[in-house]
Amino acid sequence: MEAVVDELPVILGAFWLTVKLTVVSGLISLVWGIALAAMRVSPLPVLRGAGALYVNVLRNTPLTLIIVFCGLGLGTVMDVQFSDNLSLNSFWLSIIGLSAYTSAFVCEVVRAGINTVPLGQAEAARAIGLTFLQTLRLVILPQAVRTVIAPLGSLLNALVKNTTVAAAIGVMEAALRMKNLFDAHGDAIIPIFLGFAAGFVVLTLPLNLLSGRLARRLAVVR
């Protein structure tokens, strides 16, 4: 227990990085995922095909592979550099991997939401002269997203835990920090482990409660 207390600033710093990974890749995933969903319901076959291909490839590839590819493939081989600072560079490379992966799931959840919006809503929108994009943005998506707030919350919950995969390319988030602390405090492995596990629960539990409450509050009544 002492080890946990002594190392608390270090542990909190690691969780802060976990939070940053989650928030940044969560926002990017939401935007990119909605764009992918728009592609998948668009009237253009090329866009529909590209969206379907992207989603099926990314969704069916293990996240570890994607993150390692971002670190080695993008970072080392293709020399994609975001910063001279090595750890900041890995941070952004892992953001790319996490967002690319999570957005595929966001896309499918949003698309399921779009399917719950009655066809008549889109017909009425088109009938007053809205374009395809306006119909999507002003009528369909606002209703679709509200119906899938709870499943989006689950995705965010999964994302919090998935950020630990960034450890694979040296991002010093909670999981990698935990491993390092194991090395330094071999006699306190169980307390350290419990401390980190509790940290993740503290992050995810409020998310679940909040998304459930938000889903009820924003439900569209028909």
Partner: protein
């Protein structure tokens, strides 16, 4: 067939055909609607009435033939099609009010987003229209909080807000409880009196008699007969029409 509309019709359909799979729902339809004319389309279910209504703003595409609206061929897609739709109002059987927007927002969405009318001006006009259809007091509510009749009147106000050249009504009272039918029909009769060009698919024969300039009778994807309400209801010239009328008028 009798040609009642003038030399410069607002809409002219020529040789329009449409299939749903093996079903030939519109067969060589020729029809014109004059400016200010109220055309009521009646016929047994499955006769193609609703499809006829929906091809006019291209919610359904056609397989062959031509549709000319206000002197121009109906655009196939894109912004030109959106512009055409903004000039043709549509009222649906199931209302289709935007469920996540208030009554007033339903009416102002088109003007502000399509016509780029300033919000304040759109809201003022929206309230006038809601006043006209008798639901100004409900402006801040959501569609699900209103009765069917009130929702359908909102839908009419939403169509009117675009200052359309014509309004299509696709069975506007078929989903309503009986006691709410009249309030919607009253609004429609008012529009007809004000000179709005209307095409109305309906089973309300009282409305057809009162407000129509012309009745179009459809069966099996064809226009079987058309004429003035007095002609059509008193002495229909085809067996199909007589048969149909005998089924719905004698109770």
């Amino acid at each position: 067939m009798t040609e009642i509309s003038g030399p410069d019709p607002l809409v002219r359909l020529e040789g329009v055909n449409k299939h749903f799979g093996p079903l030939h729902v519109l067969q060589d339809i020729d029809l014109s609607v004059g400016r200010g004319e109220v055309v009521v389309v009646i016929g047994p279910s499955g006769s193609g009435k609703s499809t006829l209504c929906r091809v006019l703003n291209r919610l359904e595409t056609i397989d062959s033939g031509s549709i000319v609206f206000d002197g121009r061929e109906l655009p196939a897609e894109g912004r030109a099609l959106a512009r055409l739709r903004s000039e043709v109002g549509m009222v649906f059987q199931s209302f289709n009010l935007f469920a996540h927007k208030t009554i007033l927002e339903n009416v102002t969405l088109g003007p502000t987003r399509v016509r780029k009318v300033p919000r304040q001006q759109a809201e003022q006009r929206g309230m006038e229209l809601l006043e006209r259809v008798g639901i100004a007091s409900q402006a801040g509510k959501y569609p699900a909080q209103l009765s069917g009749g009130q929702q359908q009147r909102t839908a009419i106000a939403r169509a009117l807000a675009m200052d359309p050249k014509m309004i299509l009504f696709d069975e506007p009272t078929s989903a309503l409880d009986p006691e709410m039918v009249q309030e919607v029909l009253d609004v429609m009769v008012g529009l007809a009196k004000d000179g709005m060009t209307m095409m109305v698919v309906t089973h309300e024969m009282g409305f057809a008699r009162r407000a129509a300039n012309r009745i179009v009778f459809m069966a099996d994807g064809q226009i079987v007969e058309e004429g003035s309400p007095s002609e059509f209801f008193t002495q229909p010239s085809t067996e199909r029409a007589r048969d149909f009328l005998s089924k719905i008028l004698t109770h």
